[in-house]
Structures are given as C-alpha cells and as structure tokens.
C-alpha cells in the first residue's frame, strides 16, 4: 500500500469502484452447530462425525447455545439490531453437503443494520450477520487438484456442521485499501469478541468480495462480480485491484460486465470466471421445520453484553483520551493502532492508572514491548508501570529503560533490581556537569560551531557524553547543560 493503486487510478479516470465484502467466520465453539461432535481443525478425516452432521436418515439438529451467544456478541460488536430469527433451509446438491440442503438464515436473520468503524474514523455499513452451518471439505484428485481437470473427488465431513456467522457489509467500500482495512478491523473485532480466532490461513475467516464500478457521481450500481478464493489480506487487495481494472477496461471499450462468480488465481494474479450460469440458482428457501425460532429476549441479550469486552475502536479511543488530544499526532495514532492490535493496551492503561505518563508508556509498549508480544502479554503490569515512571523521573535514561525492559521481557523481574544489576545508576547532576565540561573541553572546534548556532551538534556532544558515562546520562539533561554552558 505504498502508492495509488488501480482503484485510485480508476477514480481519477472517472470511475467509482463499489465494493462489498462477505465474510464467513467460523465460531470458536467446542462443538458443532447442531450436534456434539468436536469443532476441531486438522483431525483425521471423518472422525468428528455423527448421525446429525452426516445427515443420516432420521437425524435431527439441536442448536448450540454458545454459538447463538457468539453470534449475538458479533452482532453487538458491529452495532447491529438483534432480532427474533428463524433458520431456513437452502436447498442445493453438492457432495460436501450431507443433507443436500444447508441450514442457514434467510429473511429473518439474528443481526441486522449494523456498522463498523475503521481506524481512520470512517464507517462501513453491516447489512446482516447471520448463523449457518459449514459444509464438509472436498478434495479433487487428479488433474493437479483443480476441480475442472479432476478424475474423482474425496469428501471429509469433519467440517460439516461447524458453526459459521456470515457477515455481509453494505456496498460502502470504495477502494482495495479500504477493503483491506475493513477486513483487518473486522478480524480484530471478531478476535476481541472471543467468538472467532480470525485465522484466514486456516480458513476460520473467509472473505469474498463483490466488486462493481460506476461512473463517478452516478447513484445506480453497476453489474457486480463476486470474487472468491481470497486467502489473505494481500490477495484481497490484489484481487480487488485487478477486478476494478478489468471492469473499467471492459466498460471503456464499450463492452458490458457480465454478472458472474470469479475465482482469484494467486499465481497468475488474475480473476477467472467460473462456468457462468444462465440464471440465478433457485435455492427454494423455506423455514427449517426441525428447529424452532430463536428469540433473544432482553435478559439473554444483557447477559451476552456483560460478557462482551471493549472493541478495538473503544480501546483505541481510551488510549487516545489518556494520551490527550494535545499530544495527538500521526505517530501516536499508529502507536495506538499497533498496541490495540497486539492486545498490549492493558499495559498502557494500567501504567497510566499507576501514575506513569501515558504517552511514554504507549511508546514503550508500541516500540519495545511489541518486539516480543507473547512475553509482553505476560509482563507484570506493576513492574512495567514502575519502569515507565523511572524513565519519566529521569532515574533511567531512555536507553537504559529500553535495556531494562528487554531484560524484563526475557525473564521478568523487578526493574529497580535489574537496573542496579546492570550498574544503571542515575548520574548526579554535578557529575553530569563535570562530564559535559570535560567533553566540551576535548572538542573545541565543535564547541565553537555549536556556540555559533549549529544546534545539531547537540547530538555529537550527547553521543560523547553517553560514551563517557556508559549510557547513564539522561539525554535531555545533557542538552540542557550544553545550552546552559553556551548561554
């Protein structure tokens, strides 16, 4: 994302991309949506199956209460309205479908009319987030593993019946970079709700993109194509850019865009049309007679809301408020985004509550602690708070503080003890003045230039002072002393 992509180029050529994303998210339940088989990734084929998820004759579904709770958490996190809902049957044949219908939600989904706020403050609408069951997995054998050249196929039903929430955005997205931001933020939200682990590479979060273009300024939507097989945020961005360019080229040459499903080919870097259908498939949706309506009353919703922690946007806002608007900057915004994404904001808020400077705590968390996230998450917050305060009060220099933090990440411990062990004692003012005077005396030419106004030589002198004091000097104190001497 280092320059304008084709999306931005299209816009400047008078075409507006219109993008909506459909995200299928696997829920982190212990068991499947309608039966007690384990919801686990990577087990031996066909070992987590039972009459229900195999769709054996006579079997019946029973809804997993935690899956409903997770679906509600997702709805709440996306500011949706939670409604009484029904399950419907979506009827079609495919070998990975044990019943040859999928139990899903159709015109009465559990969550509707929400939105998601991106880190830059813009909002993307969320039309719905509904529950449905996952299918089994088909492997195509022969012909390089691609469906169209295969000789036969093998089916594993371990994944059949795993709970999914399908999240459909409004077509509010206008560029590939915004799409990536949306997907990234959505993933962070899903992880924050505890409902999903958001691992695109394991297939627990699957993104499809609906892409169309229209003349800039027009209100009607152009014909859209659905893009599938996007296995990473990078693929998502690349595929959208390719598709925008493809559609613009078609339209500018006087041709039309055909509504179709297209498959992203990562190696070739292009979307390819799947066999096009003459008409939309008739799924013959009707209410699932084997399941009763789900009516999340106020009491149930309240229970779920209590269990729901703050979302990334809320956590970013908390940090921004702690740092204070007067100290806001792009660098700060980036640090805040990083810290929240890595889950280290707890360290910062605890440090601020313990009297440490929020901005300094933020910087140390974003720049240093982030180097080892797992260790940072295990850091004792009181120790971190003490460390930040030591630096803040000039007991330690910045360099020293970073060294102590690195040691704490490595093997924990108390910052004061670590500082002592490393020989980091505060340099007293008088000894600092002595060292500065010695360094100044040793470099008369540079001193002359500094006195005449070459302020950047502060760095030169500070470096010498640091070397002479084995990094125990406080940079700001050195600068102040140099200034005092010059005056």
């Amino acid at each position: 994302m280092t320059g304008p992509g084709p999306g931005e180029a299209a816009l400047s050529a008078g075409w507006e991309p219109v993008i909506g994303l459909e995200v299928h998210c696997e829920l982190r339940t212990r068991t499947k949506l309608f039966c007690g088989c384990r919801n686990a990734f990577g087990d031996e084929p066909n070992t987590n199956v039972c009459p229900v998820c195999l769709g054996l004759p006579g079997s019946l579904p029973v809804l997993n209460a935690v899956a409903v709770e997770f679906a509600m958490r997702i709805g709440m996190a996306l500011h949706c309205e939670i409604r009484p809902s029904l399950f419907h049957r979506k009827n079609y044949f495919y070998p990975d479908m044990p019943k040859d219908y999928q139990v899903s939600q159709y015109d009465a989904p559990i969550n509707v009319n929400g939105w998601l706020e991106l880190p830059d403050g813009s909002r993307v609408g969320v039309e719905r987030a509904h529950m449905e069951e996952d299918t089994g997995k088909t492997s195509h054998i022969g012909g390089g593993g691609r469906i169209h050249d295969a000789e036969h196929a093998l089916v594993d039903y371990n994944r059949a019946g795993v709970p999914l929430v399908e999240i459909v955005s409004a077509p509010d997205i206008r560029s590939s970079s915004q799409a990536r931001l949306y997907a990234s933020e959505l993933r962070a939200i899903l992880v924050a709700t505890g409902a999903s682990d958001g691992r695109m590479e394991e297939g627990s979060m699957r993104v499809d993109a609906n892409v169309s273009v229209r003349p800039a300024g027009k209100v009607e939507l152009g014909t859209r194509c659905e893009i599938k097989n996007l296995n990473s945020l990078r693929s998502l961005g690349r595929a959208i850019e390719f598709e925008i360019e493809r559609q613009v080229t078609l339209l500018e040459s006087g041709a039309t865009v055909v509504q179709q499903t297209r498959h992203w080919n990562e190696d070739a870097g292009e979307t390819v049309a799947l066999r096009s259908k003459e008409e939309a498939f008739d799924y013959r949706y009707f209410p699932e007679p084997d399941l009763v309506p789900v009516v999340p009353d106020a009491g149930w919703q309240a229970e779920v809301a209590v269990a729901l922690g703050p979302m990334p946007a809320d956590r970013r806002a908390t940090l921004a408020a702690l740092v204070g608007p007067a100290h806001a900057s792009e660098a700060r915004t980036d640090q805040i985004a990083t810290v929240v994404e890595l889950g280290l904001d707890g360290l910062v808020t605890a440090a601020a509550a313990g009297g440490a400077d929020a901005g300094l705590a933020l910087a140390r968390a974003a720049n240093e602690a982030a180097a080892d996230v797992d260790a940072a998450l295990r850091l004792d917050t009181a120790a971190f708070t003490t460390l930040v305060r030591m630096e803040q009060e000039a007991t330690l220099s910045a360099t020293q503080a970073k060294a102590v933090l690195a040691a704490m990440l490595e093997s924990g411990g108390d910052p004061a003890e670590i500082a002592r062990a490393k020989g980091f004692e505060a340099l007293e003012e008088s000894s600092l003045a002595t060292v500065v005077a010695e360094v100044v005396a040793a470099h008369p030419d540079e001193w002359q230039r500094y006195v005449e106004g070459e302020d950047k030589l502060v760095g030169f002198f500070t470096g010498k002072v640091m070397r002479a004091t084995e990094n125990r000097a406080n940079g700001k104190a050195v600068a102040a002393e140099l200034n005092r001497l010059r005056a």
């Binding site: 212990r30 084929p45 199956v49 809804l63 070998p95 036969h152 498939f281 013959r284 009516v295």
Partner: protein, 101 residues
Amino acid sequence: MEERRLTRQDAAYVARLARIELTEEELDRYADQLATVLAHAAEIAALDTDGVVPTAHPLPLRNVTRPDEPRPSLDRDEVLSEAPAVEDRRFRVPRILGDVP
C-alpha cells in the same frame, strides 16, 4: 394469483432441480399427473389469506438449545462401512462437473 397448468417444461425443470433423471415417457406421464394434482391443490389459491400469519411450526416452542459439550462421535469404520465408495478414509465420488451453486 395466476393459476396456470403445470407444463412438461415445468416438470423437466423440477426434475433437474431435484436431480432425478427421467425418460421422455416418464416425463410426459408425470407432467400430466402432477398437473392434475396441482390443479386440485391449487383450490386454496382463491382463499383470502390477507393478514394471516403462516404456520411454520405447530408448536409455540422457542429457544431450544443444548450446551456446548462434546458428545461421542461415530466410529469411523462403522460410518465408512455403509459408504458406496471409500478412498483414503474419505467418501469417494466421481468427478464434480459444476461449481457450488
């Protein structure tokens, strides 16, 4: 509502959707029988049902759920022993011509 007699083309369409292969003779016969049955069943088309809520479930049950507790799965050998074709611990099928609809 428009009442129209079910045609042979309709019968062919639903047979395709329902994945049932029919001979030409069967198609003719079933289309005729279905058209007759449908004509009888469509007698309810004329009833005024404005404002009537459809009955999807005969019972007033709501929120029937189970806890998220694992239960024993089936023994894989027992499952695969009933399968028409097995390869590499999975169900084997002929090549799949079309994409997921």
